[in-house]
């Protein structure tokens, strides 16, 4: 187990090193840069050279990369070109928003996917199965940003109400915080549950065909016990896998929902940073997301053994 963990950490670090190089290099290949965006109005080429030197962008690529990486290893992600603030501070400010949205959406997604998927598999062709499949098709085929826009439009017209603007931390006001997050989390949760529901259903359908399940039925166990006690746990491995990828998607990929509900999360930070060609911010945010992906995948891998004791780590 320890050897496995060590291997995974080493592999994870190698992946992050590769990611850092990609993040550092690719954003520089995108046409246009921060300085041109800033100085285009002045039109002064001499200013451009001076500004490049000021930001250290006149140094060779390798030297810039090593300097940045050394900073990262010391816990310093650099200073944003755009906001002139430490990138780490900006990311830490955006993180609670994305984290809360992701956790709430995931919880809701699972609260819908697990019962609907399980019941759908256990009573295939029944009313609950059809309801679950309908929810799934709807969630997959209707764009969530469209639903979000409609919800905002009609709650404002019919009820003269929209969620509070901007992020309000739960410590400042739990009620207002929930008022703010419930709708976006519900929209994202329903959207995500569509995929999870199908996966839960199909995984369970596979497992329900297994011999040991037939044996459990033959022993005369109650249906609920067979489903939740024997079959469900064995169907969890693929579900855990998709949970991991959904969480990392939510953490940095819910940009449109963040925009519509005026929540300033990591996704919005990344998009704005790319727009401004804010190299330190883009590099920092991508690396940060990479760390989260590596960590979540490690946790999910470890969780496999908890779910299925047959899995051994070597």
């Amino acid at each position: 187990m320890q050897q496995y963990l060590l291997n995974r950490v080493v592999l994870g670090l190698a992946a992050l090193l590769g990611l850092s190089l990609l993040a550092f290099g690719l954003i520089r290949l995108v046409p246009g840069d921060y300085l041109m965006a800033q100085l285009a109005e002045s039109g002064n080429v001499a200013d451009l050279a001076a500004a490049r030197a000021q930001l250290g962008l006149d140094r060779p690529f390798a030297a810039q990369y090593v300097t940045w990486l050394a900073g990262v290893l010391r816990g310093d992600l650099g200073i944003s070109f755009w906001s002139k603030r430490p990138v780490a501070d900006d990311l830490l400010a955006a993180l609670p928003v994305s984290l809360q949205l992701a956790v709430m959406a995931m919880l809701l997604s699972m609260a819908l996917a697990l019962p609907f998927g399980a019941v759908g598999a256990a009573r295939r062709g029944g009313a609950a199965d059809y309801a679950g499949r309908l929810l799934s098709f709807g969630g997959l085929s209707i764009p969530h940003f469209w639903i979000a826009t409609l919800v905002l439009l009609y709650t404002s017209i019919w009820f003269r109400w929209v969620p509070p603007l901007g992020y309000i931390s739960p410590r400042a006001s739990l009620a207002q915080n929930l008022e703010q997050f419930v709708i976006p989390a519900a929209i994202l949760g329903i959207h995500l549950s569509a995929r999870s529901l199908r996966l839960v259903r199909s995984s369970l359908l596979d497992v329900l065909q297994e011999d040991y399940v037939r044996t459990a039925w033959a022993k005369g166990l109650a249906g609920r016990r067979v489903l939740w006690g024997h079959a469900f746990r064995n169907a969890l491995v693929p579900i855990l896998t998709i949970l991991g990828s959904q969480f990392t998607y939510l953490l940095s990929g819910s940009v449109i929902i963040e925009d519509i509900f005026s929540l300033s999360g990591v996704g919005r930070y990344v998009v704005e940073s790319i727009t401004h060609r804010d190299y330190p911010a883009v590099q920092g945010a991508i690396l940060f997301t990479g760390v989260v992906v590596v960590a979540i995948n490690l946790v999910i891998d470890l969780a496999y053994a908890w779910v299925d004791p047959r899995i051994r780590y070597r």
């Binding site: 995108v30 109005e41 002045s42 039109g43 906001s83 603007l165 901007g166 925009d259 005026s262």
Partner: protein, 522 residues
Amino acid sequence: MKAVWKMHALGVLCATVVLAAGFLAPAGSAPAETSRRGGILNATFSSDPAHLDPHRGTTAQNFVPLVYNGLVRFKTGTEVRVDEYVIEPDLAERWEQPNPTTYVFRLRRGVRFHNVPPVGGRELTSDDVIWSLERMLAEDPENIKRDLFSVIKSYEAVDKYTVRIILKEPFAPFLDNLATVFASIVPRAEIDYKRVAVGSGPFMLDSFTRGVRYVYKRHPQYYESGRPALDEIVIHILRDFATRAAALRAGRVDVVDLLPFGQAQPIIREGGLQSEKYQGIFSVHARLNVSRPPLDNEKVRQAMSVALNRQAMAIALGGGEGVVNGPVPTGLGKWAVDWRHLPFFQRDVAKAKALLREAGFPNGVTVEAVGGISPDNRRIILEAMKAQMAQVGITLNFRLVDTATVQRVRFQKDFMILADNFTLSSDPDSYLFLEYHSKSSGNVGNYADPEVDRFLEAQRREVDPAKRLALVHQASMLVARRGWILTTGDPIYVSLAHPYVKGFRHSNINQYLPLKNVWVDR
């Protein structure tokens, strides 16, 4: 502001006239109403500033006019029209101009900075003005508005309350430039102006969370008696239009400004809100790069100009109501020439074809254009141009790219046609000299014509307003004839507010400065 201006569609041709009449109508607020102290106003803006320094970059310009004062300012409030730009005293209670190149500003006494460290509410003096001038003229790559003040030859503090500024040459737009946020007077102190905004303005920036909100509190020692009325202003960062509209309906925000007519119309129809229409000064256009054939041929450019149906484009831009702009936008009032009198501005397909033939292109030409993907007005004008030019034999291919790429293209002059809008200014010099003078850094289309240069130089040196107006009009006619920049139009904009919001009227130059006049009567 009880009354709501309502301009119904009276036909495209008279849209401009109708609009002008609308602006001449009595202001909406009843004079008998007196402002009531207290209350909070919620407003919105679409993006964060990069930082808060008014002398570096341009993104702070919408966030700090409430915090700082200038020596002079543009008059705001319901008593001035949106298309008039009246300079009034601000920190300088008066000024003299003993000769065309010398200005002597007499500062108000007893003006206090905000009572926060390290300034601690001390009195503003000429030393702070000198410090601010040093910052405005600093050789710093980020000081991209330095050109506004580069005409200054020298400056000195004559005494504690008097500042003398001497110009290199007479410069008509000088006071207008001093009224911009880029000439804000900041305190001489050890401050990181990018992170901290401490001024003498009507509001103090109390707190802000990037991407979320900016909270301003009333400056209790503000020099104007009875101002500001509000205790607090909160500016919410809402990027999405639908979110802004929903927040307005739900009362989460009290005022939303600068909405194109087409977007505001459905909300106006719902009722319950006061609205006001006005002309903006963005003026979307297509810059032609005359170093790229066939755009080096004046007749080709003129053919492109007469191929355009500018009225249709303006209406498309506004989503129902728009205004055609010449070289100087119609929103600049008297400085603009009526577009119907400008050469090569009326659509004429036969004339366009004839011009192409005369230019040696009887089979038409193919040109390439580029524009930013945001805001959407670039796409609108490029699509319209493509369709309209196709009818005269000009094939226009265009691509939309992101903002940073547009800036690169502009900076490196790496384009044939660039869809763009002008830098906002109250003075025609910005739309003329900056864009067309052969030596201007803003001339990205490689325009060079000694005759045009002479007019452009003359209008900025002319201090007699009537003579300058004539020169500006002549210069506008001349550059329209050259066909260098194909100006199109602007939407009619709308500001929307709840009925309890009093005293608000948009300003084309400082979008949030008018909030200092606002009070709420809930």
